[in-house]
């Protein structure tokens, strides 16, 4: 990401970095089916977040996307194997598991001004009291659909968006950080 760093003003106080080597799985299942949820959790080794707008951290990150939809962020090299393991464990349930690694890119936004910069293009309340560690939201950032997650450190965010929006978002964030 030397290009992004070159674009950042030296006093921007915001860092934008693409997270390399991330893989993504989209999982659809009915959360009322406790056995399906448990089977998925056994494979993942961590909780499937059932509360809206939250994610669980562990070996992977599991983001809540909707009432029956999740996004699993894992190592790119592990995505296909994990997809296979989940498919096997959930074969008897009504589920859909799709490897969407190719279509998504994760970027990390950090630095003391990151919340101010995000707030320029995002309508949700980003104050840590409302949007703290463990919380995520699929929302619009500068009119692009993104999955925004608050990191465990203050003023650090993960932005997962469609690959085709990545350059646009990076340019927008870089520009927003300058003013």
């Amino acid at each position: 990401m030397s290009e992004a760093m070159a674009e950042s003003a030296p006093d921007a106080r915001v860092d934008i970095n693409e997270l390399p080597g991330r893989g993504f799985l989209n999982v659809r299942l009915d959360p009322r089916d406790k056995h399906a949820v448990k089977s998925a959790e056994q494979v993942l080794g961590q909780a499937m977040p059932l509360v809206a707008n939250t994610y669980s951290s562990g070996t992977h990150r599991v983001y809540w996307l909707g009432p029956d939809e999740w996004l699993i962020e894992t190592d790119a090299e592990n995505a296909a194997a994990l997809s296979g393991e989940l498919g096997e464990a959930l074969a008897d349930f009504n589920v859909a598991i799709n490897d969407v690694s190719g279509g998504h890119v994760a970027q990390r936004l950090s630095g003391p001004e990151s919340r101010t910069v995000l707030a320029k293009g995002c309508t949700i309340d980003l104050h840590p009291r409302e949007f703290g560690p463990g919380q995520c939201a699929r929302t619009a950032l500068a009119r692009a659909t993104v999955l925004l997650a608050a990191g465990s450190e203050p003023d650090s965010y993960t932005i997962i968006a469609a690959r085709s929006f990545t350059d646009y978002l990076r340019h927008w964030l870089t520009h927003a950080a300058k003013k």
Partner: protein
């Protein structure tokens, strides 16, 4: 800007949503039995009330789910949102927490 409460994600700005027209339009079970007038009424004619209006919204930038909103077409005040169940069984906000599919 309207603040619309998504039944799953909570209150979000209007720009995250797309509008889907009047709620509660039920497709006729036997379209062949309808007259042209009745079919046209189902396809094209809507109540367009002045005042309380139950309408469909989609949380396009969020959880991507369809849900219902009751909005006053004069004041734009939103009385509440509701989840959609099977046709004709719309339930009040919070009542239909388990999906019926």
């Amino acid at each position: 800007m309207l603040l619309i409460e998504c039944p799953w994600c909570g209150p979000r700005a209007e720009t995250e949503f797309s509008y889907g027209g009047e709620a509660g339009i039920v497709r006729p079970l036997d379209p062949d039995a309808l007259s042209d007038e009745e079919w046209a009424d189902y396809l094209f004619y809507r109540a367009n009330p002045r005042g309380a209006h139950r309408e469909l919204w989609n949380h396009a930038h969020g959880c991507r789910r369809w849900f219902g909103v009751e909005r006053d077409t004069v004041s734009y005040r939103i009385a509440g949102s509701f989840r959609l169940g099977p046709a004709g069984s719309e339930t009040g906000k919070g009542a239909n927490t388990e999906r019926d599919d």
